[in-house]
């Protein structure tokens, strides 16, 4: 399979008061051309930092890629100069962000911002650029494109702004689109519209998409493959259907079980994961998830398990064989079989 993106042992660290803290710690994964991959994780999992590393934007916020390679079409982005990166960013790889209001420039009209992106990448005249901008605005599903182009970001609603962001991102026909929580700030009905738009764009343009989300439901709808991250490490990589049928990592299971289901039994206690997410400067030794894991043993607290293949899937857990044998991970959705952990905070 043709791989558009191959990331190997990526380590990204930020300068803190007491030295560097690793926000992404040894992350490796591939993305096949034309596929959609979702990185799912909670805050501090390193999912956004992974994206910012690929775009080499971490350097602008005090971060640094310390190790590893990011191969995009075989070229290592980690070794590119800023000048070279500028040509790739927004042209071959585009990114859309969570909060479209802060990502758009408030003092320029929408049309100015879209044409700017077009003119940066194509040697065409202004008139032609405006015509293309109009086309882009129509493509992302906004009515009356001529009027839209004359408006300022504050005149548009959240959903419309996100569509404009997508229009700017797509203006240069990128091969890879990175979407960092593109619908988190939006209402459900608008979220559905934007997800629909991304799906259709992917179909029509054969674009590869890397979608970052905390919402396991969004991942279920969009992804071919899902990466579960926790505290800077990948816990599991699975095809979407496999993950939802039977997660391999206790954290994946905990995450799936934590979400109330639309067809689940109401009012019953939800399975939840004990404790809270560690801060980056106090990540535990051994497996990052071990302090919250109901199955953790001595070994887990001492040594981080490597991400290993199991068929087409990958999982980082010392006890995956045993857990599979005991059927502790099967996704019955009723939960219950979680053994009482060493209590940090009660589960109710």
């Amino acid at each position: 399979m043709d791989k558009i993106l191959e990331i190997d042992n990526l380590v990204t660290a930020y300068q803190g008061k007491e030295g560097f803290v690793k926000a992404v710690d040894g992350v490796s994964f591939d993305l096949n051309r034309g596929d959609t991959i979702c990185i799912v994780g909670e805050s501090g999992s390193g999912k956004s930092v992974t994206a910012m590393s690929i775009m080499r934007l971490v350097e602008f916020e005090n971060g640094k890629i310390r190790e590893g390679t990011i191969k995009f079409n075989g070229e290592d982005l980690a070794k590119k100069s800023n000048e070279e990166m500028r040509k790739i960013r927004g042209s071959r790889i585009s990114m859309i962000f969570q909060e479209p209001l802060t990502a758009l420039n408030p003092v320029f009209t929408v049309g100015k911002q879209i044409t700017e992106a077009i003119l940066f990448h194509y040697p065409i005249g202004k008139k032609e650029a405006w015509r293309r901008a109009e086309e882009m605005v129509r493509l992302v599903g906004l009515s009356d494109p001529k009027a839209r182009l004359k408006q300022y970001p504050h005149e548009l609603s959240g959903g419309m702004r996100q569509r404009i962001m997508i229009a700017i991102a797509l203006a240069s026909e990128p091969e890879l689109l990175i979407a960092d929580e593109p619908t988190t700030a939006l209402d459900v009905t608008i979220e559905a519209q934007i997800l629909e738009l991304l799906r259709s764009l992917r179909r029509e343009r054969n674009m590869s998409i890397m979608l970052i989300t905390h919402d396991i439901g969004v991942a279920a709808e969009m992804a071919d493959r899902i990466i579960i991250m926790y505290a800077g490490k990948i816990m599991e990589i699975s095809d979407t259907q496999d993950l939802f049928d039977k997660p391999l990592h206790p954290y994946s299971k905990g995450l799936l079980d934590s979400v109330p289901r639309m067809d689940g039994e109401r009012g019953v206690p939800l399975n939840s994961i004990e404790g809270s997410i560690p801060r980056l400067n106090e990540v535990p030794d051994g497996c990052r998830f071990s302090p919250r894991c109901p199955f953790a043993t001595e070994k887990c607290h001492e040594e981080m398990p490597p991400l290993e293949f199991r068929g087409t899937r990958q999982v980082a857990c010392w006890h995956v064989d045993q857990l599979l044998e005991n059927d502790s991970l099967s996704n019955d959705r009723k939960g219950g079989e979680f053994i009482e952990p060493g209590i940090k905070e009660p589960s109710y």
């Binding site: 009905t189 905390h214 289901r261 639309m262 206690p269 997410i277 109710y348």
Partner: protein, 356 residues
């Protein structure tokens, strides 16, 4: 028109809070500067419903629909423009300052953001203890004992009495917010998006805590949220709001299994479900929520409604009992078991037959 009186004629369910024709209008800039004319936003527009003792009533809607404003106005954290709010049969909007202060013991609020709703210069003990100070309930050693009981009740370690909010994680802070709200043993709590700001794995902890405390303390709760799955899980009844109005209200299963209002049906069809096998018939609503400063005439939802007709533009549908204990504000409510898709196609057919 009072829908609730019809819905529970003889049942023991007794309303703890009754909201009648509640309105909250905000003046906004606009209109002519020189003419001095003012525009208003009807954030809560003539809302009538009841909250029964011991139930959790969920309130869902998109941002700007007025659900948080409604919650605040019921507690008089904002003064309603018009209407009446009865708490135990007494109209609390007529209360004066000192009466209201007494009442505050019985009605409390849990806020969405556990970061900005706690004073960073107060320790946990002070944050919770303030409640006892204000109402002169406990002092000294007794107060400290009560505070520690509350800290323990919400699942934190009482030894953290002297810690400051920044020393806690988001989920722990939300627990402190809950402890503060429950310190005076209120009967009625408004929970305004209490889990929206939390990570998924922490969300379920807080939901479990709220369900447990509600059960143990016999609370009545108005649970405001935009996450439909969360509301479904925790609520006994659910109200759906759109542009300042309640458009549908019924028991949770009725709402989620057999929605009557097209908006509810569309909303439900768009929830991303955490199961890739469940491929739903998705009805993606067109357009956006209109500005509340300038809502459409007639039914507010008609501009996005696939079932809307001319009648919807002229006549505003009242909230009526369309099925047993199931209220909807729609001229063309879905029948039980009918999906929105079916309703759309039957509407199209009837239109065709008319044109032929």
């Amino acid at each position: 028109m009072n829908p609730e009186s019809k819905s529970h004629p003889t049942e023991q369910a007794e309303p703890l809070v009754k909201i009648e024709n509640l309105k909250k209008y905000f003046p906004i800039k606009g209109g002519g500067y020189f003419t001095g004319s003012k525009k208003i936003v009807k954030a809560v527009d003539n809302v009538t419903f009841e909250i029964y003792r011991g139930e959790t009533l969920g309130l869902v809607g998109e941002s700007g629909c007025g659900k948080s404003t409604l919650g605040r106005n019921i507690l008089r954290l904002q003064e309603p423009t018009d209407g009446r709010v009865f708490f135990k049969e007494e109209n609390i909007l007529a209360y004066k300052g000192h009466e209201m202060r007494k009442l505050r013991k019985q009605m409390q609020i849990i806020y969405q953001d556990p970061f900005s709703s706690l004073n960073p210069r107060f320790t946990v003990g002070e944050i919770i203890g303030e409640m006892y100070d204000i109402h002169g309930i406990a002092k000294g050693a007794e107060k400290e004992k009560k505070i520690k009981e509350m800290i323990e009740l919400v699942g934190l370690d009482p030894s953290r009495y002297h810690n400051y909010p920044h020393e806690f994680s988001g989920g722990q802070r939300q627990r402190i917010g809950i402890a503060r709200a429950l310190a005076l043993n209120p009967e009625f709590v408004v929970a305004d998006e209490p889990v929206s700001a939390l990570d998924v794995s922490v969300q379920s902890q807080i939901l479990n805590l709220l369900m447990k405390l509600k059960e143990e303390l016999g609370l009545t709760m108005l649970f405001i949220a935009h996450g439909l799955n969360v509301v479904r899980h925790i609520s006994d009844r659910v109200g759906v709001m759109y542009l300042g109005k309640i458009v549908e209200l019924s028991e949770t299963d009725n709402i989620f299994d057999n929605p009557a209002h097209p908006y509810t049906a569309a909303l439900l069809s768009t929830v991303p479900e955490a199961d890739p096998r469940l491929k739903k018939e998705r009805i993606v609503l067109k357009g956006e929520v209109p500005s509340p400063a300038n809502p459409p005439s007639g039914c507010h939802f008609r501009t996005r409604c696939p079932l809307a007709t001319e009648r919807c533009a002229i006549e505003e549908p009242p909230l009526l009992e369309v099925r047993d204990k199931h209220f909807a504000a729609c001229h063309y409510p879905l029948e039980k078991g009918q999906t929105l898709k079916q309703a759309i196609s039957s509407k199209e057919q009837s239109q065709e037959s008319v044109t032929i």
